[in-house]
Every structure is written in C-alpha cells, then in structure tokens.
Symmetry: C2
Subunit: 153 residues, 2 copies
C-alpha cells in the first residue's frame, strides 16, 4: 500500500533586504553546493508556509492572476500558492555563491524573507527549456526574462 | 520559530505500460485540472519514494550521471533522486486529458509506475524558458527535446 504522507524538511531560508536577495542553505547542507558555481540559474523550491492550513490546502479552483477576464483555473493549471502541497518553484539567476557560509546570492525571488527553502536544482536547458509550448491566451509567449512585477533575467 | 517539518500528501500516481504514460490524479482533486487543456506541457512533481530512507536522504555529494569524467557534484547542483527532500520535477508533453476520470495522458516521464505525484503545474515559457543559461561542460546546450535515454519533445 502506498504511504499516505511524506515529510519535508527545510534545507534553508530566504534572506532579503532592499539590496540583497539570498538563499541561506543551512550549514549542515553546505557540501551539497559543490559545482553549483558552474551554473548561471537555479530552481529554488520553497514552501508557501503562510498557506499551510487546511482551508488553503483544499482549494481546488482559483482566479487567474494577470488575466483581464474573469477566468478561473484549477490549481494544477496555475501557479497559485493555494494548493494541496505548498511547493513553489522559482527560477533565479545566481549572482554569487559563498559555499563555506551556505549562501547563494540571487538576482530576485518572488518570496518573502524567512520563507523555508525545501530544494535547489540547477536550471539545465536540455531538460528545462522547450522550443514550443502552448499556454492560454492571457500569458505572453516570450522568454523568461520578464515577470509582471519584476524581471527574472 | 520556524516549523521544522512539513507534510506532503500524494495527489496522484503514475500509470504506465508499454504504450501509455499517464498521470492519474486522485478523483477528489479532479476539479483542479480546470483549464489545463489549454497548455501543451506541464511540470510533474513526483516523490522519489524508493529513496525515502535516512541513508539516501542524507547524501550530500554524488557522481554526475552522463559525465565521462570522474566528476562529483553536490546534490543541489544536480538532479539526483538522493536528496534531503525527494522532490523530482519532470517536464512532460500532454497528449490528452480526461478530467472527469482525473487522467492526464503524457508523452513520457522518467519515473516508474506507481510513483506518487505530489504536484502539477503548467509549463509557462515567460517564467520557465531562459534564453541564456550556463551549465557545466558535460551538458549539451540545446533545447529540451532530448534526453540521453528518451526525448521529452
């Protein structure tokens, strides 16, 4: 029989002020950063902890942000933080790494300071970058160098 | 103080035989598929349940697959399923959706039948697709239409 629950542990947290965006990896994981300096971008998987309650984890349908129309979408058809498992996935540009201190300085991340980080993976074009991908009409078809509020460059 | 553990629940599982690759979303989540038919590709987040033991969840450094050299990398610098949190992220092409039955038919996924699915998000070029991304020399710089064992097209 399949296990009905899995455990996630934070491996770091977001540090942020007006000029610095940083992923702080807890010191016991710092060896896991080996070779990361050879990549330019990474996936930061974070836990939308402010939504970790039974009400928001049982939402199935939500309003589409950035759509001018009154469009609703299932939470598996959008990136809403209200979802059964609060896994969020942001692609970030690396500005610098201090592996000894477990710090990854990044260009920007759309998460608040103190947010728990649950995984880091490198961005690898041969598996992450698709030439053709269809999306609903409310999204622009363009490169991932733009977000409505802030570029991810 | 930050919570030290979060709970993940499976929202579906992988069904697979020689001709069919399918994400089965448990029926209580089927409404969350609304609008997914307007996308061509999705991120499938799955739990590498076969590695869910204290030994494999504490691995920090591993050999690089597909590298001809004897290269080691931290698990945050590769996609190894041995990692603190067993979150795997595969981008899959949608072949068809039967929302009433909670089924998403896909081209291919690099996970075994019965693997627990923990999240689904649409692939959105304006946040997922980067024009320029640096990777170590053992990766080809190309589009995500190819994998060493099987195309993801």
């Amino acid at each position: 029989m399949q296990k009905t629950e899995f455990k996630i542990v934070p491996i770091g947290k977001i540090l942020k002020d007006s000029s610095v965006n940083c992923i702080e990896i807890f010191i016991e994981y710092k060896e896991a950063l080996l070779e990361l300096e050879n990549y330019s971008h990474l996936h930061v998987y974070w836990w939308a902890h402010e939504f970790d309650n039974p009400e928001q984890r049982t939402v199935l349908v939500t309003d589409i942000p950035y759509s001018k129309e009154d469009t609703k979408a299932g939470i598996f058809a959008c990136r809403s933080p209200e979802r059964p498992n609060l896994i969020m996935d942001s692609i970030c540009k690396i500005r610098g790494i201090n592996a000894q201190k477990g710090k990854i300085f990044i260009e920007y991340i759309d998460a608040f300071p103190g947010t728990p980080i649950i995984d880091i993976k490198p961005y690898i074009p041969c598996v992450d970058r698709l030439k053709k991908a269809k999306v609903p009409k409310w999204f622009p078809i363009q490169w991932g160098e733009w977000l409505p509020d802030k570029g991810i460059s």
